[in-house]
Amino acid sequence: MAGSFDTVLVANRGEIACRVIRSAREMGLRTVAVYSEADADAPHVAAADLAVEIGPAPAADSYLVGEKIIEAAKKTGAGAIHPGYGFLSENADFARACADSGIVFVGPSPEAIAAMGDKAAAKRLMEKSGVPTVPGYSGEEQDDALLVQKAKEVGFPLMVKAAAGGGGKGMRLVEDEASLPSAIESARREAAGAFGDDTLLLERAVVAPRHVEIQVLADRAGHTIHLGERDCSVQRRHQKVIEEAPSPAVGEELRAKMGAAGVAAAEAVGYEGAGTIEFLLDADGNFYFLEMNTRLQVEHPVTELVTGMDLVEWQLRIAAGEPLTVVQDDVEINGHAIEARLYAEDPENDYLPATGTVELWETPELGALRVDTGIRTGSEITPFYDPMVAKVIAWGSDRDQARSLLIRGLEETSALGTITNRPLLTAILRAPLFAEGGATTAFLDELPESPAPTSADMAAVIGWLYRERLCEAASVAPGLEGWSSGGALTSAMRVAVAGEEHEVRIVDHGGTLSVTVGDAEHRVLLDAPAPVVDDVEIPVRCIEPSRGRVLAAFPGFDLEMVDLTALPPGAGDAGGEGVLLAPMHGKVIAVEATAGERVTTGQRLVVMEAMKMEHEILADIDGVIEEIVSEGSQVGGDQLLARIAAA
């Protein structure tokens, strides 16, 4: 292409780095990856032509250090830096530093970033530009009394937000006046921690709205178009989970209105490149400006699939100074696309981020299914970065077709070795309200029910565990495994699934097992490539069991089964009462009790920050603190945080 650069450095990691590298390479550009010590073996490093290590695992020491990235670009001759999303993508100083170093920042001008980065100022600017906004307070005066006063004027329920924020950090929903002070306090702390700026703004909460956003593209000459909307209403903790284009709630007319508002918003800041204007859409078709994301969005693929446009390619073209050759009338929305974000997290456990080694990563090849991923089998999911590990996106000629394909795609995806939200994703896609297109941002306040393993599913997995026991038996008594002089050998096993123990009886008929779980008896064929239970092949993929543990991916859920009969003595002992362990790797940011102190059940003792979230560790019994961690310490998963002597 007729660009000003032939090498682009991707200042990101994970799926988005892989995604950007893919388009850049297809355009004939040389690509440079950067990586932290934790990511040396990550797929984005392998995908790029060159890779530069930029420091220790914590993002603050690597991916967020602009100087190191600019230095890496200089070292590798990269004429452009694509920031992806997150990290430095909306950092005006970084964009400026790139320009100062003669490197093209793939994104808008620092001024446009800054204008939209200050949420309060942006809102004022939008009001001026005729873009509808939500009533609220975004003044510079920040003392508590004033905020309380302003909150009363705005009215409840309202949102307290970090002025510099995004992505749900430093954001609190406040139902009434009474809970306002504590929300202000915690939002401030989180805002200061995440953005180095504790300015807050208040905003009237639009109840059960849809989150609909407009994708815009603008070239250097100011030619701005929109590519229609995306509906991102299905969210948890203000993080998007499912996104689609077009929105089931948006017709031609509304699309034109919202699109025009999006274009107006972009033009108001002299926007350049790909950007997104987020709106809240209420049931009556009113929409309010929420914020503008001055970067590529996570969910950009759904727009790509319905418009046929490669947004990364356009970002790079525009950054290279090319004019936008597409005019608004050329933009056509074709069919429907839905994206599901696969997170390494536990929806059943308050979305607690999960870590671990990916022991099996497999995705299906299914026609119009697209998988953007940043992991592979063997990848380590560390606590240092965002828990999103992949996106599965399906296109269909209509919404139902896309939805069916996506369900199928997710059901045939194996992500084993960590906990993921895969079961939740399929459950959402199957939920009647979602199927009807009626999901609002309140949709996930109650989790749709995910399928649970049946006794036949359990029997299939037990078969694998039993086979491991047979191998062990063969090692002590070769050639005699599974044999009893009394006829068929009967074994008793105790297995644990999700913390629940099950007594299992297995009768070995040589190749065929009778497996009794609870009251149900099943016939399991042992030597089949896929387990056959009661003559039916079970569609499950698993990693070979080792040391009494097996991981299995069923269409609607993952299952980890542990054979307790195989465990060495004492291995089943969990932390007893009063023993508080770190739920995951992270940093202790607050310690609110001291050794010797008397505490009561439910009292907050420790606050941990892990995976960019705060986790409260509460006393689980009444008693006296015997031992407690110190503030600022970095702890590993399952490490002792506090021990309470019962009293």
């Binding site: 062990e472 038996a473 008594a477 005699l480 009893s484 002089s485 009967t490 060495p568 003595p569």
Partner: protein, 535 residues
């Protein structure tokens, strides 16, 4: 490599007939076994109500899943001539693996008569203890017994049963652990199973041990006591100190037991033998190779070929004393000397067997006897040839061969042939019977014929005529007396072996036993001898 070439055609009519008949007997064996299982399991609701596991469930919980199991004396106490007779003697005993360690387990079958002790059950327990001691295998008692059945009291049972506790003391002193899991009552004698154990795991609420239960206590001294107060696990673990580990229920107790065994760091004694070849001829064919009718001859090598690794063996002196078959082979990686019969034991055959036994003993090679023997040769030629000497020589060799010896009763076993071929009286490590086997001092016809000859001679001496009718009736009685005791179901019921097996399992049984013996003979144990400890 001397691979045997079989002449048996598995597609032949005779093979099919043999197999059909043999499998019928196997089915009969399984039916007999299932009687005890069903009777015991009929109490399932009662057990589960009390939060208990059935005795067989206890064993399954204790053993390693998927690991092999050899049941000991499965037919003990069974009498085919008695209506509704149950096998097992009220005791279930198996050799199996607990936390990777081969152990022998003796469990009261408390689903039957509340685990009351029986005479066969007593002998069975003593045999299991002998196996534990000889093979240095930890022994685990799963106790729940009402004690002696007062209604079927037999004085000898009381007296001889003392041996069970004597054995516990000897096993323990030899450095072999004795463990008891107290699942239910251990009353009177039953209280000494835990009492004589190295460690005791008691189930709270159900486990009890007392020398006199509440009824006997009341009868004997007039003292009225609640069973739990008198001998409950709670009391024994906090007051008397009898119980070492308290479990919340049966499953928990067996988990603790598994852990206790895992922590014994028990010397395996020998590495498992692996990498051996399967027989060229499927052991499954054993059911069709051997005719159920003992009068039909067959080549014993056909049996060996289905037991030996690779069906590969070296025939010793094949043309000398050919009715006695001696071969060197290996079974599941263990070298063995097989001795089998293609006819009676004659002078040459006895000498050959003696030579072979002595040579195997010299080499430390275990011996496997496949008994299908009608006895030692009789007659003028045989006697003049030194049959007594030669037979005795063989019995000498068998008795004093200090290598592990195993015996499979695969057909006939009559007269002193049983002794020379390492019968039950000769302390084989394991002696197991096929369901078709027949045994006795002699056949019923021979016994009746002998009696007829003696009677005719007596009548002739006295010059009296022979009462033919009386003689016929008498001969009939003799035949019945002998033949009624010939069946393997009788001999196994009378505990003349360590159990009845499916012939098709013979190779596995031998492999299991050979490994057990090798481990036991090479295991380092720590026999204990302490000074006097004052209390």
């Amino acid at each position: 490599m001397t691979v045997f070439k079989s002449k048996v055609d598995p597609a032949s009519d005779s093979f099919r007939k043999n197999r059909e008949e043999m499998l019928e007997l196997v089915a009969e064996m399984r039916e007999v076994e299932s009687r005890a299982v069903e009777r015991s399991n009929s109490r399932a609701d009662r057990f589960h109500e009390r939060g208990q596991l059935l005795p067989r469930e206890r064993i399954a919980h204790l053993l390693d899943p998927g690991a092999p199991v050899l049941e000991i004396q499965n037919i003990a106490g069974y009498d085919p001539n008695e209506e509704g007779s149950l096998p097992g003697g009220g005791v279930i005993s198996v050799i199996g693996y607990v936390s990777g360690t081969r152990c022998i387990i003796v469990a009261n079958d408390s689903g039957i008569d509340a685990g009351a002790m029986t005479t066969p059950g007593g002998w069975k327990t003593i045999r299991c203890e002998d196996l534990a001691l000889e093979n240095k295998m930890p022994i685990i008692f799963l106790v729940e017994s009402a004690g002696a059945n007062l209604l079927t009291y037999r004085v000898e049972m009381w007296g001889l049963a003392g041996r069970t506790f004597y054995n516990q003391a000897k096993i323990s002193a030899a450095g072999v652990p004795v463990i008891t899991v107290l699942h239910g009552s251990g009353t009177a004698g039953g209280a000494y199973y835990p009492g004589m154990s190295d460690i005791i795991i008691g189930v709270r609420g159900n486990g009890r041990a007392f020398l006199a239960g509440p009824p006997l206590l009341k009868a004997a001294t007039g003292e009225v006591a609640d069973a739990e107060e008198l001998g409950g696990v709670e009391m024994h673990s906090t007051v008397s100190g009898l119980v070492d580990y308290v479990a919340e229920d049966d499953a928990d107790a067996l988990r603790i037991c598994r852990e206790a065994v895992a922590r014994m760091h028990w010397d395996p004694g020998a590495q498992p033998r692996a990498g051996f070849e399967d027989p060229l001829y499927d052991p499954d064919e054993l059911a069709g190779v051997v005719p159920v009718d003992p009068r039909q001859p067959y080549d014993a090598r056909e049996v060996i070929a289905r037991l030996a690794d690779g069906s590969d063996f070296l025939d010793f002196k094949p043309d000398y004393g050919p009715m006695t078959v001696c071969v060197e082979a290996s079974v599941m990686g263990h070298p063995v000397g097989f001795i089998a019969n293609n006819g009676v034991l004659d002078n040459a055959g006895s000498g050959k067997a003696t030579h072979f036994i002595q040579r195997c003993t010299q080499l430390g090679t275990p011996l496997v006897f496949l008994q299908n023997i009608n006895g030692y040769m009789v007659g003028i030629d045989a006697e003049r040839g030194g049959m007594i000497k030669n037979g005795s020589k063989m019995i000498q060799a068998v008795s004093n061969a200090d290598v592990p010896r195993f015996t499979l009763m695969i057909g006939a076993s009559f007269g002193a042939g049983n002794y020379g071929m390492c019968g039950v009286g000769y302390d084989p490590r394991l002696v197991l019977t096929w369901p078709n086997a027949r045994a006795g001092v002699m056949g019923g016809e021979q016994a009746a014929g002998t009696m007829r000859v003696v009677a005719e001679e007596r009548a002739a001496r006295k010059g009296e005529p022979v009462d033919e009718e009386q003689m016929e009736a008498f001969a009939g009685q003799i035949v019945d007396l002998y033949s009624a005791q010939e069946s393997a179901f009788v001999t196994s019921g009378r505990q003349m072996d360590d159990g009845m097996i499916d012939p098709r399992d013979s190779r596995r049984v031998l492999g299991f036993g050979l490994a057990m013996a090798e481990e036991g003979d090479n295991r380092k144990v720590n026999p204990v001898s302490f000074g006097v400890g004052r209390i």
